[in-house]
């Protein structure tokens, strides 16, 4: 326990060190007399932009809108991926049915669907959530399938010689044995959700973090652009940390460390 705490604090210190170094270098560069603040706004400008957007409420509105889209797309996409991925990875016939389709669709970047989605569904909330859902589903389902296919045969044999039916083997052995892969799928999906969120909001949105980015570009508010980028980074980081906590809890049995 003691050793672990030491390990963690060392980790936090070293992690902060690299972030602090980047900030220090940035501060140094922007403090030079020949710096153009329109391209590289000083840190104080970025903080001011944060404060104005925070107090005016526009930042929180944008954050709320974006988090809603991410959550909706992530939950729907990963749930579909979990159900379908488990079935595809376990039942041969379902695999034969869906595998060519998934393999054909997989290399297409989710953003490529944007024009089609706009044509079909317009530029409303549904379209934005749909893009995120597709992105989450595609990266997650591949991991779930891989997990189901990597279940060691000896576990299946052990369960069936103890009298487990095929479905019981699926439920009590294959799915738990695949959890490390499934969790990885969820984490990759979370990253994909953020990537596609900003892209979908850059194209068509009246609010959200991507919209604030777009607004910053249009009115040459470089400090606002910088500020939003940091907000996105921070949010994604916090979400990933929460996810790791959940992962550590679910994976207590596993030998692999975080």
């Amino acid at each position: 326990m003691n050793k672990n705490t030491a390990f963690n604090s060392k980790r936090v210190i070293l992690g902060c060190l690299s972030v602090a170094a980047v900030i220090a270098i940035y501060a140094l560069v922007t403090s030079r007399p020949d710096n153009n603040p329109a391209l590289l706004p000083p840190i104080t400008d970025i903080i001011t932009s944060f404060w104005t957007n925070l107090t005016s409420g526009s930042l929180l509105t944008a954050l709320g809108a974006s988090l809603f889209r991410i959550s909706a797309g992530f939950l729907i996409g990963t749930t579909l991926a979990l159900v379908l991925g488990c079935l595809i990875g376990w039942y041969r016939n379902i695999e034969y049915l869906f595998d060519p389709l998934i393999e054909a669709v997989r290399p297409i970047p989710p953003l490529a669907y944007i024009p089609l989605i706009i044509i079909w569904f317009g530029i409303g909330e549904f379209s934005r959530v749909l893009i995120i859902t597709i992105a989450c589903f595609m990266v997650c389902v591949v991991n779930v399938i891989a997990g189901m296919k990597n279940v060691p045969a000896v576990y299946e044999d052990a369960a069936s010689t103890m009298g487990a039916t095929r479905f019981q083997v699926f439920r009590t052995v294959a799915v738990p044995a695949a959890t490390p892969f499934i969790i990885t799928g969820y984490r990759v999906a979370l990253a994909a959700a953020w990537t596609t969120l900003v892209a979908s909001e850059l194209l068509a949105a009246q609010n959200g973090l991507g919209f604030l980015l777009q607004e910053g570009r249009r009115y040459f508010l470089t400090d606002q652009v910088m500020m939003i980028i940091m907000i996105i980074g921070a949010c994604a980081f916090i979400m990933d940390r929460i996810f790791r906590k959940i992962q550590a809890h679910l994976m207590q049995w596993s030998e692999t460390r975080e």
Binding site: P152, Y155, D157, M162, G163, P176, W253, S254
Partner: protein, 251 residues
Amino acid sequence: MPEIRIENLTHTFGKGQPNELTVLDNINLTFESGSFNAIVGTSGCGKSTLLKMMAGLFAPSDGSMKLDDQIIQGTDRRRGMVFQQDAVFPWMTVSKNISYGPRLRGASAAEQREIEAKWTQAVGLKGFENRWPRELSGGMRKRVDIGRVYANDPDVLLMDEPFGALDAQTKERMQSDLLETWGQSRKTVVFVTHDLEEAIFLADKIVVMSARPGRVHHIEEVSLPRPRTDAMRLTDEFIQIKRRLWEMLDH
């Protein structure tokens, strides 16, 4: 009580193809109720294949296997198996592993507790009930494996080199403990190993197989009295059997 009868069993991998390979050739064997049987032979004699067929994990290409005059088809809880590899479920604690079989059949929580308590005790894992398998040594994980199969109460126990990966001391200890557990219920056991001493120490009957294709070469009846003790390993009778069997194996 269960009796296993194997009649004219032949198994060919890739039958009908140019590279077909006969691994088992015309095997005829009977394993009597409540007896402890061992199958020995060098690698490639098909002993593991034979055992997996008895478990119902796959079917022979010719001939039949019967348990109490019923043809063996598919897996069944009556024929429990302990594998060479580690088959303990790492996502379940020791006691959850032990009660896995009864839980499949909807045992109540109280029944599960009772079975867990009985078998963790019986296989020497008291105090480790709530540990994860990763926290146990290889020998202890094998104990979980054996306890889990026993807790499932099969009629026949099929064991595929279960102690193959353990060090010599642990192995001898496990053998004695296995005999003690077996002595209390006298299930029919078929134990595959390549270790002659292990076979002699454990079994009433030893089937010696020859390789490529696997055939029954010799059947040795071991008349050492029970209960067996470690001291017997050094008796003249024990060593004579070992020498006789050793000369039979293809080296």
